[in-house]
């Protein structure tokens, strides 16, 4: 008989949250529901875990993949639902058991009225399995395979084997909202991922300089936002043109200050957007020393324009290779390395300033109509929902 598949979802850290636990669980549940939007399913919440049921068995893999990306998911397993009956349970255990090697049976008995206790179920099912397949051996310390049996309170049992690692972290939405500077490179999506993993909801802002950059570059950033949105349960991307700002800096300020000054404009715009959208901090993908503008002096210069909120730089201590590995893992790398320029090289200085002095930066900036340029950039802002 073909029995129903279920997915068992275990969460992490939420149990640490004491009195707030109910709130965390509710947000987590909502995020799971969002991740499974458009797919037939039901989520139940027996003690200490979530069980997804009543879905189309041919889409199990896709559903697992969606759940795996929800922050707060510690692990998940695909199980089979049987009656709380030893014969039925054994039938399914045989199906998922390996052909040879070592194993152990691990039972969790929520239904305390079940005639055998957990240890007795382990022994009974393990014994029957050994009898049926002599090439198997029991090893309770380091088994090659663990066969799980979960006897539930409603007269059913779940049988499963593999444990799939989830994204970990905290449910998105339980740690406020941040404004991520999303450039199109490798780092910024990873920074967004890292911070969302700690439960922060994201808005993104992307700066472009059309006509110096092209539609493909914009398309690429939208694709990155779409990938990030799978982890964050949706997000808004704000697209801002900095073309005129770059032209003005190019005309009026020392060539080597282009990046330093542009970063300050980006920060100001991000702060104002944060205040308008309820974001409480700015998140960037900077990593100390990675490029000329990412020095501690560079960060001082860009931090100096932010008055009302912190700037979080989750990748500050990461090596490029570590960031690349993470980008590959979360699926943004392939898109990030598409070769479209995001900040046109027409304006890139040959020798950018590595250690900008704040007073000199401010003096150079005083030649610009900062407020006017920011207002102009805001007038043309576009928001895209993912």
């Amino acid at each position: 008989m073909e029995r129903e598949q279920v997915i068992i979802v275990r969460y992490c850290e939420i149990h640490l949250k004491g009195k707030n636990r109910g709130y965390f669980e509710q947000v987590f549940m909502n995020n799971l529901e969002k991740a499974l939007a458009g797919v037939r399913h039901e989520i139940r919440r027996p003690s200490g875990r979530y069980v997804v049921e009543n879905f189309d068995g041919s889409r199990t893999e896709e559903i697992c993949e969606r759940i795996r990306k929800v922050f707060g998911v510690h692990t998940l397993s695909v199980g089979i639902k049987t009656g709380a009956d030893l014969d039925e349970i054994f039938e399914e255990v045989v199906r998922i058991a390996p052909d040879s090697g070592t194993f152990k049976v691990e039972t969790n008995r929520a239904d305390k009225h079940f005639p055998l206790n957990s240890v007795e179920v382990n022994a009974e099912i393990g014994g029957r399995l050994l009898g049926k397949n002599p090439s198997l051996k029991v090893d309770v310390r380091e088994p090659q395979c663990v066969l799980h049996i979960d006897i539930r309170e409603n007269g059913t049992a779940l049988v499963f084997r593999d444990i799939i690692k989830g994204a970990g972290g905290m449910p998105v939405g339980t740690a406020g909202k941040g404004m991520l500077l999303l450039s199109g490179g490798i780092d910024s999506p990873v920074a967004g991922y890292m911070i969302a993993k700690r439960g922060m909801k994201l808005e993104c802002v992307h700066f472009h300089s059309y006509p110096y950059t092209n539609m493909q570059a914009r398309e690429k950033v939208e694709e990155l936002a779409r990938i990030l949105a799978e982890y964050t349960g949706g997000l808004t991307l704000h697209v801002v043109s900095v073309t005129h700002i770059q032209e003005e800096i190019h005309k009026k300020c020392p060539e080597e200050m282009m990046i330093t000054l542009l970063r300050r404009f980006m920060m100001r715009i991000a702060e104002r957007l944060s205040l308008e959208t309820g974001a409480q901090c700015i998140v960037t993908g900077e990593s100390l020393g990675q490029v000329a503008s990412q020095t501690v002096e560079g960060m001082t210069s860009s931090n100096a324009v932010i008055k009302t909120m912190p700037v979080l730089r989750p990748l500050v201590g990461f090596d490029k290779t570590e960031i690349i590995a993470k980008a590959r893992e979360i699926g943004t790398y392939e898109t990030s390395v598409l070769p479209y320029e995001d900040c046109c090289t027409v304006f890139l200085p040959k020798h950018p300033l590595i250690r900008p002095k704040l007073d000199k930066v401010e003096a150079a900036e005083s030649l610009l109509d900062v407020q006017g340029l920011i207002d102009e950039a805001f007038a043309g802002i576009e928001a895209v929902q993912f």
Binding site: Y210, E247, K251, P339, C344, V346
Partner: protein
């Protein structure tokens, strides 16, 4: 506002009359031409008639035949992988990517590939080409009209000279930008010739590979044995019939179109702001393609600005760290700054004088503005 379209070397607007003439092959005459019932056979007959008509446009159908492919690129690939089977393959630095990348793949598989240098106008340097051919050469491929500069190669003459050095070699030419645009008939020395429908008012999805009947061609796509076993796959009858109607129309007005477009090309050159633009195409180039460069500006940025002002043109550069400069323009001897500023204006039979005047004014204005903004 309808935009002015001057990127006809990329693709042309499908000829509506030709679409209407072929529509029945999407509707009541939808049958598979390989089917043995009367309906299928009738479509087969129409398809063969269309083939003959296209072949006759540029060759003697007693000497040449043609297989239908899906596009010019497929024709080029089939020619190269079919014919470059031994010895060395000689081609030029001015080829379309369909030949250039196929050559790179051949080299990767172990065939020796030799590239002939270009003249400053983008045409192949004849002396260099012939010096690379020897008795072991199995295939020579030279583009007929360069798709970036419009330079016309004398492929009939080159083919004759190649054959004197390497009598067993085959000569192929990518004729995608020449077919239906410049007067030309295949001589016996050109063995294989690629064409594409959508550059002359056809729809995308069909191309052709002409073949000198006395020469062998090998299949590239295997399957049901269509096209005499040389190109399997159910024929795209609608696109083929539409191609045939569009070609017939284009060839009937070829000389008149050419004279008119030569006039537009001259007009365009004369209208360009010579303080900013340098003309890359030579006077002898196909008038359908006009390559210009605003040295010091970036072609793609100009292209975006012209687009916003209602004029669509092609470009030789890109805001991309890969393929930043056109390899063909660099091979003409241009420096990177010149290559970076290239725009490609390409005309079609539908282009009007008014569109040329307006587009030239827009391009001048955009370039002047960009100078101002970035100086």
């Amino acid at each position: 506002m309808e935009k002015i379209y001057l990127d006809n070397a990329a693709t042309t607007r499908p000829d509506q009359k030709a679409v209407e003439a072929a529509l029945s092959y999407l509707e009541e005459n939808f049958y598979n031409p390989s089917a043995l019932y009367k309906e299928g056979f009738s479509v087969r007959k129409d398809l063969e008639k269309a083939r003959k008509e296209i072949v006759s446009c540029i060759s003697d159908s007693g000497k040449y035949d043609m297989i239908f492919t899906s596009c010019g690129s497929e024709s080029d690939n089939q020619a190269i992988f079919s014919a470059a089977r031994r010895g060395n393959f000689v081609t030029t630095e001015g080829e379309h990517a369909a030949v250039f990348s196929a050559a790179a793949e051949l080299a990767r598989r172990g065939t020796e590939v030799r590239y002939a240098k270009l003249n400053p106008d983008g045409g192949v340097n004849e002396g260099d080409l012939l010096s690379k051919v020897d008795k072991d050469t199995s295939l020579v491929s030279v583009i007929h009209v360069n798709n970036e500069t419009g330079a016309v190669n004398d492929i009939a003459g080159l083919a004759e000279k190649v054959k004197k050095i390497a009598p067993r070699a085959l000569f192929h030419s990518d004729g995608v930008q020449a077919f239906g645009k410049i007067p030309f008939r295949l001589s016996g020395a050109v063995d294989l010739y690629s064409v594409s429908a959508h550059k002359i008012g056809g729809v995308r999805g069909v191309g052709g590979l002409f073949r000198n009947k006395s020469k062998n061609l090998f299949p590239y796509i295997f399957g049901g044995g269509q096209e005499n076993g040389l190109r399997s796959g159910t024929e795209n009858t609608f696109a083929i019939m539409q191609f045939s109607a569009a070609a017939k129309k284009k060839f009937s007005s070829l000389d008149g179109d050419l004279a008119r477009i030569r006039g537009y090309n001259r007009l365009f050159r004369s209208l360009l702001d010579e303080k900013i633009f340098q003309v890359m195409s030579s006077e002898e180039a196909s008038p359908y393609i006009l390559s210009i460069s605003a040295r010091g500006l970036r072609g793609e940025v100009l292209q975006h600005m012209a687009d916003d002002a209602g004029v669509l043109v092609g470009t030789g550069s890109a805001c991309s760290s890969r393929n930043r400069y056109s390899r063909v323009i660099l091979a003409c001897g241009a420096d990177e700054k010149t290559a970076d500023g290239v725009l490609r204006i390409s005309f079609s039979a539908q282009t009007t004088e008014e569109a040329c005047r307006c587009a030239a004014a827009v391009i001048n204005r955009c370039a002047a503005e960009l100078w101002e903004r970035t100086k």
